[in-house]
């Protein structure tokens, strides 16, 4: 196979590539960063990447947002599935957004509690403090 065959794959599936890149950035920040708030930021990026992935599943070429066009007296034109994007991923991601906000809130509350006790959010320093009697 030569390179030319890969180019259409790259172009038609670029939504997946974008989400994977974002997710890896977030994951790396969560694993490698020393500061707890930076880890929390990494976690947010990680979760947002998954949201992006799901939302991109719902897209359809030539379709509009999933709100039906309708007249005032109940009269509406025939509904065709190809005219509206898939609403289900949007519904699911509304849930995932809420979950990630909630996790963020709890994570920040925990880090405030850690800061209250150790006066720092650098993981190394906290572990040094814990090791000393």
């Amino acid at each position: 196979m030569d390179m030319a065959q890969y180019i259409p794959v790259l172009l038609t599936k670029y939504n997946y590539w974008v989400y994977i890149t974002l997710m890896m950035i977030g994951l790396w920040a969560m694993i490698a960063k020393n500061n707890l708030v930076k880890k929390i930021i990494g976690m947010s990026i990680f979760q947002t990447a998954i949201i992006l992935f799901y939302v991109s599943i719902g897209a359809k070429y030539g379709a509009t947002i999933p709100i039906l066009r309708h007249g005032h007296n109940g009269a509406h034109e025939a509904i065709r599935t190809v005219d509206y994007i898939n609403p289900l991923p949007h519904v699911l991601m509304l849930t995932a957004i809420v979950v990630s906000v909630a996790t963020l809130g709890v994570a920040l509350a925990l880090s405030i509690r850690i800061h209250r006790r150790h006066r720092t959010l650098e993981e190394d320093d906290i572990l040094t403090q814990l090791r000393e009697p």
Partner: protein, 276 residues
Amino acid sequence: MKLISLALVVLLGGLFMAATADFPDWGDPASPASVHVSPRYIEKTMEETSVPNIVTAVLADYRGYDTMFETAVVFTAGVACFLLLRRRDPRPGPERIYRHQATGVIVEMRHKPAKEPAGEVFARIDDDWVPHDLIIMNVCRLLIPFIQLFGLYVIAHGHHSPGGGFQGGVILGASIILLALSWDLRTAMGRLSEAATGLMSAVGVFIYAGVGAMCLAMGSNFLDYEALGPLMFVDPVHARSLGIFFVELGVGLAVMATMVLIYKNLASEGRLDQGL
């Protein structure tokens, strides 16, 4: 260590990339996700629930049970922040700080005064107080009522346009947080006390779960809004539409109160006396 984790992450990314070969192309209307379950939502929503916004209908009716727990997740986060952070011991340093409005002299008091100094002469300030900007304060004061009105519109109009309980609730919550940012936390607390936010977040979720339980009491399945038709003197399809509206109200209430509750506890490290 950093190199190992980088290698691990890149490897994982490569694996995910390889798996995308089996995925449908971007925007393909014939992908499995677009032809299996979702077509029914698009085609039947109008006749089954009379709600033109399909996302709202799926969110609060077809998959309404998920959304009930989604609201419960928000509520959980609020309670968790309260549980982890709220404390009642006094802050180190001066108990109260006042500023003489005319001269700018700052008075620190070691103990809580028996009586709060009244009137415009002395104003209580935070310990990291900086001079306020008159423009910001007044513009925010003017804007907040309109923001709240818009929030209510977003909740109420979620059937016909993008919006709904979560979005409207966040806008309402943000309006209170804006008040706390532009004035101070005590002003915001004066408008919406701690107990009020705590109770409202629980009551909001209770409205949602309560509507579901009411369907159960009417002899139907949990969250089957059709059962509420006879109570509201409407046909089953409109009962679904109204049921969605009631649960969205509950969601809006819970989200607004929880956002404010989380903000207050995070901003003041749980003391709720001062903060951003």
